[in-house]
Amino acid sequence: MPKSLLSIQEVSKNFDEIEALHEINLEIYSGEIVGLVGSNGAGKTTLLRLMAGVYKPSKGSVNLSNGESVTTMRHELGVVPESTGLYSRLTAWENIRYHSRMHGIPDKVSWARTEKFAELLDMKESLSRHTKGFSRGMRQKTALLRALAHGPNILLLDEPTAGLDITSARTVRAMVRQLRDEGGTVVYSTHQLAEAQQVCDRIVIMHNGEIRADGSPAKLLSDTDTESLEEAYVSLTLDQARTRQEDNDKESAFSGWWRRLSTPRTPATTREVMEDE
């Protein structure tokens, strides 16, 4: 039985009136790639942010295997957010070094790890370049190097291949599998079922803030009595998907009133569009 590294128990997360996650229970085991799959607004990013300690659960707990909360043990985690979060006026290495220093890792240790992984990602020559001119793929690879430089036990990746070209996406996926083969643990969020099937050992299907299914691809097929993961996914998410919850930022009554007042009514007919012109 593999060792549990991260335990999410009875976790709910509310943003004001909106419940973004509802009573989530999930165990992340050592040496596996767990795919969080769901449409936009399913709650994948919120769950990853809870795992990373960026959000605090409204209810329940997110603890590491030693019982400590993730907020106190963040050096156990390597995080690659969807936006990559690189500083454009710093070089790739300076970005990596900054995060490593925050983890309390000496520069020479993080350099050694970075050099090793940069070779694999074909990024060694680019470490001294400012990230301003980097392509999406290079940014993603740099963020991956940054997340690995301090030697985390768990890697949290939010849509790591979104917007990447085919070659870069393949490289990232290969890297993730290699990390798993070396004993690493990865939580991987995506809305591409095919990708999850290709990369992940275990797939967690999320919909409207709930976990609808959790298991290996084969288990999902047998549980849902379907022949493809796509059919399984559809059968598990028949109710209408909601919009992303975090984007519903608080707006003051005055701001809302002013926005509505300064926004013209959208025309309802072709005739009205022509009249507007």
């Binding site: 943003f15 942010r49 990373a52 300690g53 960026v54 959000y55 605090k56 043990m73 963040r74 050096h75 985690l77 995080v79 690659v80 957010p81 969807e82 936006s83 990559t84 979060g85 690189l86 500083y87 454009s88 006026r89 710093l90 300076e94 900054y98 995060h99 220093r101 925050m102 983890h103 309390g104 963020a143 940054r146 949290l156 975090e246 984007d247 930022d249 608080k250």
Partner: protein, 406 residues
């Protein structure tokens, strides 16, 4: 603060300063402009004014004198003032100041000004038709007024003499005995402190606030907009460490700007002191130390306040539209403070936010260390700085700062 915590705060501050200083526009805004502002204002500006004045003096102007008989010595003075003039008969007008048909001659620049002068028994009436928006016309008017003033003086003296009176005792019956400056018991250093206290607190307050705007926005709303905050928040640093690191970076950048500006100001004062325009203020060590403490407390409050406001914003644009008008919160109290009379001032003024530090600076620049005032402004400033820091920490602890518009 533990060693690890200190190292993280230092790493955050260092990274922010390095990143911020890699933009050459920032270097110009923080180093070049503050350094040059006062020297340009106090040295170059007067030089420019002098050269402009010399240029005006060298102008050859042409005017028309309309009169029914001009006094002889007035005609001589006009000839000596660098103006060519032609004499015409006075037009028929109710008042001399009505431009009448001459309006187009002045507006069309066919003449720079028209002097109308007529005798009315013992009194002369006059008017100058000119165009106030033309530099040549204004200069012509100014020279005509000088000539008329000199002529009037000589006319007054002549009439007093004709009346059998002594000109000097009649015109100047009350006289200062000795040097005027000798009657002032304030030292030149105190006088300089008084002059500087009228604008240094104002400039310091505005500059501290305005030079902190850009780094505050860049390090908070900028991070939020660029989506770099989420990765940062997943690191093993507390939100308080994050705030401290960023505060240290903004305060350092602002401090460099303000110090350079003071350096430029001292250079300008030194230059002006060499020309006896203004002396060097005499300040005790206690005054200088308290000035530094007051500026530091003010900077802590302002930077924390700006970081908090910027952190509330979702984007650089939104933060800019909040922080720029918030300058009024500094500007109005700063302007108001210049009007407050420091002699016998009540203690409560030293407890009002912003006003307290500016009044303290005014007093200290005049080398007045009044213990009661120092205690009030020091305690109230510590309270305001703590409140601003608490407000900033609350903003940094908000969960929604991780979301960005992008």
């Amino acid at each position: 603060m533990s060693d690890g915590s200190f190292l993280r705060v230092r790493a955050i501050a260092k990274k922010e300063i390095v990143e911020f200083s890699r933009d050459w526009r920032t270097i110009i805004a923080i180093i070049v402009i503050p350094l040059l502002m006062f020297p340009l204002l106090f040295i170059l500006f007067p030089v420019l004014l002098e050269s402009e004045a010399a240029e005006l003096d060298a102008l050859e102007l042409s005017i028309v004198v309309q009169t029914d008989g001009m006094p002889e010595n007035l005609a001589e003075n006009l000839s000596l003032s660098g103006m060519n003039y032609t004499v015409e008969l006075l037009p028929n007008l109710t008042h001399l100041s009505e431009p009448g048909l001459d309006i187009e001659r002045v507006r069309g620049s066919s003449t720079d000004a028209i002097l109308r002068i007529e005798s009315n028994e013992d009194v002369w009436g006059y008017a100058i038709i000119h165009m106030s928006t033309s530099e040549r016309s204004n200069e012509a008017r100014s020279r005509i007024l000088n000539v008329l003033s000199e002529w009037e003086d000589s006319e007054i003296r002549e009439r007093i003499e004709q009346g059998g009176m002594d000109v000097n005792t009649t015109l100047d019956p009350l006289r200062w005995d000795g040097e005027i400056a000798a009657g002032d018991v304030a030292t030149s250093g105190e006088q300089s402190g008084m002059i500087l206290s009228m604008f240094i607190p104002l400039v310091l307050a505005i500059w501290t606030y305005s030079s902190a705007i850009q780094p505050s926005i860049d390090m908070t709303a900028g991070e939020r907009e660029r989506g770099t905050l989420e990765a940062l928040l997943s690191l093993p640093c507390t939100r308080m460490e994050l705030l401290l690191g960023k505060w240290l970076a903004v305060a350092s950048i602002t401090g460099v700007g303000v110090l350079l500006q003071i350096f430029g100001l001292l250079f300008a004062i030194g230059y002006l002191a060499s020309s006896n325009f203004i002396g060097v203020p005499q300040l005790s060590i206690v005054s200088i130390s308290l000035i530094i403490v007051s500026i530091m407390l003010f900077a802590i409050m302002v930077v924390a306040f700006e970081l908090a406001l910027a952190m509330r914003s979702h984007s650089v644009k939104e933060a800019g539209s909040i922080l720029a008008p918030a300058l009024m919160l500094i500007l109005f109290p700063a302007l108001f403070t210049q009007l407050i009379n420091l002699d016998g001032i009540e203690g409560f003024w030293f407890a009002i936010p912003v006003v307290n530090i500016l009044l303290a600076l005014r007093e200290l620049l005049m080398n007045r260390v009044i213990t009661e005032h120092v205690i009030i402004w020091a305690i109230s400033s510590v309270v305001y700085a703590s409140l601003a820091a608490y407000y900033a920490s609350r903003q940094f602890n908000r969960e929604d700062i991780v979301t960005s518009l992008s």
